[in-house]
């Protein structure tokens, strides 16, 4: 009850505020009138009496202020009053308010976005129950956490640490539901997948370990909720329906819950299918091949009470068992554990590194913004020193003045924080909806959540209020009498102020950002024109897999030859080749080992190299624009009836045979002992990633080394977009049921291999622009303040004949000195920081004269832009007008 009446009284006071003020005023006036009446009676005339009465009373404002305190010395009311007062003050100086709010909004926005990424990708676990105990198994001696199926079975059955060890693989397939067959993404998963992850179906049921009774024994699929929603329109009748996956019948058993998108954060499968049936999807049975690692990741919940180190020890003992039992296939194996959400450490570490660097840069932006705010607040306090002095002289308490300063700061922080957050939420929402690689269902699940809101608000308040503290000392030291008398805060020409240091720091930060974004842009431009070992211009790629339309055995090469011949007849096509996985756009494999011809012990530790391997048609090199350096390419006569041959790249030849000249006509061995003769040598190129060093590669003819994965590389004399229609028609005539993806090689390079560079360049560019904007406002503030503070001095200089150059030097010399100093420091730091960049952006080198020149020009432009208005103002000073004012 008491609280209620308290609130009511507060509310009443709030609403009757003006009435109360009027009453207070009237009461004091009445008092003075009464006193004046008495004085008048004692013989003074009325006006003298009233003056005397007023004087006797003293400061009415002060009395009123104390009355207000006595009346409503409660927190909320004073707060409301402060807020109203601050709003009024801020409205009176829109320039200051807008600059401060925007500065803060930029910084908070940048930080909220980067934190949103960090939050969505690193901090967030996969959406399964008890995600904290979910671990993926990594190989600490290999980059990739892949396993072969037999190894997975050994791990699953022999470990004592996991509460069920599941496995998955991502693959593509053709799905025929009775309408047009379409390409889908699916997870091939172990039978125990859903049980080990503790996921319950949304509809129907899931398959289980008990459904696995040998190869192809579990023809079931479980749809993802999203696929069920978009492709089956939430039809509950799909349960039990039979669909064709790569021309094999599968029964729909159930639908996964809406929140479950598989065990990768960024790639959502359309459905799940037991990996025991992999032969029907992949076209060949690799369930028994211990040498083929095709399972993406084995993962599971650790049993209660099992710590990660214990689990690793357990796994390593299985590793040494495998090593002893299969000495031919297995070298030493060391296992480790990682979070599965970003495909273990393989991607996770890179993403984390990149985002940490980004967070650091965003932190720098915030720091720069704070520096800016600090000097803004300090400049404002200096400008307001007269007002503060006046208020002190009229009897305001210092604490009260500080309170209003803090209220202003808090208001600005809240407004800036809210604006920044609003922008970042919109940006994050856009990112979540964005599909960076149209070819694959990759998303960035980075919608803003409570964490992001909380961080943004916290940052805004802390930075805003922290920098409102800057002028506190100024206020506390203010001596009202001095200031009212002299009209100036006095001490110009102090050596180095705190604000100068802030500004230098800020310019340096900006220069770092500008340097790194220029380095990134240069790297990107260069990598677009670098030598990949093939020429992607004017090349269309038709990406398909013949198993999706049910091809197998002899029908595969026959169909592939028909496709090649049909494409050759398309008008505008110059040459057509076929390769299983085109370099740089489809994760090339380098999981095979090669040995010298004389080697007998074919263990991985004795291998000369593990080159990338490709299977291709004779015309591939011509179509791809890869130069043949020596020997010959294949012909259609290199088939099963002739000795095995290969074309290798120069790097391979050097590694295996010492030099390119020695390689031609010589033999090497594969893991299974097959002897291969080198018949040709091609230039080295990039195969997997654009930042990779030159790596060995070997190419096999498809007639000797068949492949279902079929990528047609079609070089045209015209714009690839013009031939794509004809290519589509030709494909339809060949086989209606074959799903495919068509795109240009360059476009897919952009989407795929250059994606990290693009992301890095864009984010650095955005941060660089932000840094530049903050620097401009910072320098502008400083220059404008230094000009306005020295108007009188400059006026006198002009009056006694100073030239414009000298005036500018006097007015802005300091600003430029700070700019030069900060830029130099930033440039050096930026060059150091760019080394980190080189790992993300191909050919990013800071020791590039163009980058250095670019940074210097950018900083100069920035300085000119920021000091333009203050310089104009300094030059247009009219000494006469100025002197008259005084």
């Amino acid at each position: 009850m008491q609280l209620l009446s308290y609130l009511r009284s507060v509310a009443a006071k709030f609403f009757r505020r003006s009435q109360l003020e009027d009453e207070m005023e009237e009461e004091l006036r009445s008092h003075i009138q009464h006193r004046a009446d008495d004085l008048e009676r004692s013989g003074l005339d009325r006006s003298a009496a009233e003056r005397r009465a007023r004087l006797e009373f003293g400061s009415r404002e002060r009395s009123k202020e104390e009355c207000r305190e006595a009346l409503g010395g409660n927190f909320i009311e004073t707060l409301v009053m402060d807020v109203r007062f601050s709003l009024r003050v801020l409205r009176k100086s829109p320039g200051f308010t807008i600059t401060a709010v925007l500065t803060l909004a930029l910084a908070i926005g940048a930080n909220a976005v980067v934190f949103g990424l960090l939050n969505g990708l690193i901090l967030r676990p996969v959406d399964v129950p008890q995600p904290e105990s979910l671990y993926g198994i990594e190989r600490s001696d290999e980059d990739n956490p892949v396993e072969s199926y037999p190894d997975y079975l050994d791990l699953r059955d022999r470990n004592r640490s996991f509460d069920g060890l599941a496995a998955y693989r991502i693959t593509e397939a053709g799905l025929d539901t009775g309408k047009d067959p379409s390409r889908v993404f699916l997870f091939e998963v172990s039978g125990n997948y859903f049980d080990a992850l503790r996921i319950q179906p949304y509809l129907g049921r899931f398959f289980h370990a008990s459904d696995e009774r040998g190869p192809n024994s579990a023809p079931y699929i479980a749809l993802s909720y999203a696929y069920w929603h978009t492709h089956f329109q939430d039809d509950r009748g799909v349960l039990g329906r039979v669909v064709q996956v790569n021309k094999h019948p599968f029964t729909i058993l159930g639908v996964a819950p809406p929140g479950f998108h598989g065990t990768l954060l960024f790639a959502y499968p359309d459905f799940f299918l037991p990996m025991i049936n992999q032969e029907q999807v992949e076209g060949r049975n690799i369930l028994n091949a211990r040498g083929i690692a095709w399972i993406y990741l084995a993962l599971g919940h650790l049993k209660a009470g099992v710590t990660p180190p214990r689990a690793i020890a357990d796994l390593n003992s299985i590793g040494s068992y495998l090593e002893k039992t299969y000495p031919k296939e297995r070298g030493q194996i060391r296992y480790s554990l990682s979070r599965p959400s970003l495909y273990g450490d393989f991607l996770g570490r890179r993403v984390q590194m990149f985002l940490t660097a980004l967070m650091l840069l965003a932190g720098l932006i915030l720091l720069a913004a704070c520096a800016n705010l600090g000097s803004l607040f300090a400049a404002r306090a200096a400008d307001r020193s007269r007002e503060v002095a006046l208020r002190l002289a009229l009897g305001a308490k210092r604490a009260r003045i500080l309170r209003t300063l803090f209220t202003e700061a808090a208001l600005i922080s809240l407004a800036g924080g809210a604006l920044g957050l609003w922008g970042s939420v919109a940006l994050l929402r856009g990112m979540s909806a964005w599909q960076p690689v149209p070819r694959y269902p990759i998303t960035l699940p980075v919608n803003a959540d409570v964490n992001v809101y909380g961080i943004a608000l916290l940052l805004a308040l802390v930075s805003g209020i922290l920098f409102a503290l800057v002028p506190v000392r100024q206020v506390l030291r203010t001596d009202p009498y001095q200031i009212v008398k002299s009209g100036s805060t006095g001490a110009p020409g102090r050596r180095i102020t705190f604000r100068d240091l802030l500004l230098v720091a800020q310019i340096a930060i900006c220069a770092v950002l500008v340097t790194s974004s220029l380095v990134a842009v240069r790297g990107l431009v260069r990598s677009l024109h670098s030598d990949f070992g093939f020429d992607p211009r004017n090349v269309t790629i038709v990406d398909t897999d013949l198993s999706m339309a049910g091809y197998s055995g002899e029908r595969v090469p026959e169909m592939q030859r028909r496709m090649l011949e049909a494409m050759r007849t398309v008008p505008g096509v110059e040459s057509v080749g076929l390769i299983d996985w085109p370099p740089l756009i489809s994760g090339a494999y380098n999981d095979s080992y090669v040995f010298r011809d004389l080697a007998t012990d074919l263990r991985p530790s004795n291998a000369v190299a593990s080159p990338f391997s490709f299977r291709m048609s004779p015309e591939y090199f011509q179509a791809a624009g890869t130069a043949l350096l020596a020997g010959r390419t294949f012909s259609w006569h290199d088939d099963k009836n002739t000795p095995r041959v290969a074309v290798v790249n120069r790097e391979f030849a050097v590694k295996m045979f010492g030099s390119a000249g020695n390689a031609l006509g010589h033999f090497y061995k594969l893991r299974d002992g097959t002897r291969i003769q080198v018949v040709g040598i091609v230039e080295s190129g990039k195969y997997k990633g654009i930042t990779d060093d030159s790596a060995p590669a070997m190419f096999f003819p498809i007639l000797q080394s068949p492949t279902l994965a079929t990528n047609l590389v079609i070089r045209s004399s015209r714009d690839p977009r013009q031939v794509s229609g004809a290519i589509r028609n030709t494909l339809r005539d060949l086989d209606r049921a074959l799903p495919y993806y068509i795109g240009t090689w360059s476009q897919q390079l952009d989407d795929f291999a250059l994606f990290p560079s693009h992301v890095a360049t864009v984010s650095l560019g955005v941060l660089g622009v932000m840094g530049a904007m903050l620097s401009i406002t910072g320098i502008f503030g400083m220059a404008a303040y230094s000009v306005s503070g020295r108007l009188k001095e400059l006026g006198i200089r002009i009056a006694i004949g100073a030239q414009p150059k000298e005036v500018l030097q006097a007015a802005l010399g300091r600003a430029f000195k700070l700019l030069a100093f900060g830029s130099a420091a930033g440039l050096i730091l930026g060059i150091l920081a760019a080394r980190v960049l080189a790992s993300i952006v191909y050919q990013a080198s800071p020791r590039d004269p163009l980058v250095l020149a670019g940074v210097i020009v950018a900083m100069l432009l920035l300085g000119l832009l920021a000091t333009w208005i203050p310089a104009q103002r300094a030059l247009s000073i009219d000494p006469l007008a100025l002197l008259r004012e005084e």
């Binding site: 009461e27 009445s30 003293g58 009395s63 009123k64 104390e66 006595a70």
Partner: protein, 111 residues
């Protein structure tokens, strides 16, 4: 005014309560009444009076309403509430005890 005494902290409220207990008063009236009953020995600063009045109203010891003064001017009149009367009694007793104690302490003679 040689007989003026320094106001002890905290005594202003008591003085006001006492002044108002003799009949409703406006602010200036209270000031005069205090001067009058103390024989001009106690002078309240004009600016300090109103905050004290507002405080007492807020504590529920006084209540205020607008009226017309003897000078025919609009003025706000204060009077004691029952709570105010009680508080005045308590404070008066307390003060008397203190004054008596102080008096006897200060009157003590060396034996």
């Amino acid at each position: 005014m040689p007989n003026q005494a320094q106001l002890l902290p905290g005594t202003l409220d008591l003085l006001i309560l006492k002044a108002v207990s003799l009949g409703p008063l406006h602010g200036y009236g209270a000031l005069l009444r205090i001067g009058q009953i103390s024989g001009s020995a106690l002078i309240v600063e004009q600016g300090a009076l109103y905050p004290a009045l507002f405080r007492l109203v807020r504590q529920g010891l006084l209540k205020a309403k607008w009226g017309t003064s003897e000078n025919n001017r609009r003025a706000k009149f204060y009077e004691l509430t029952s709570l105010g009367r009680k508080r005045l009694r308590e404070e008066t007793d307390g003060w008397n005890r203190l004054a008596a104690a102080m008096g006897s302490v200060l009157a003590a003679q060396p034996e």
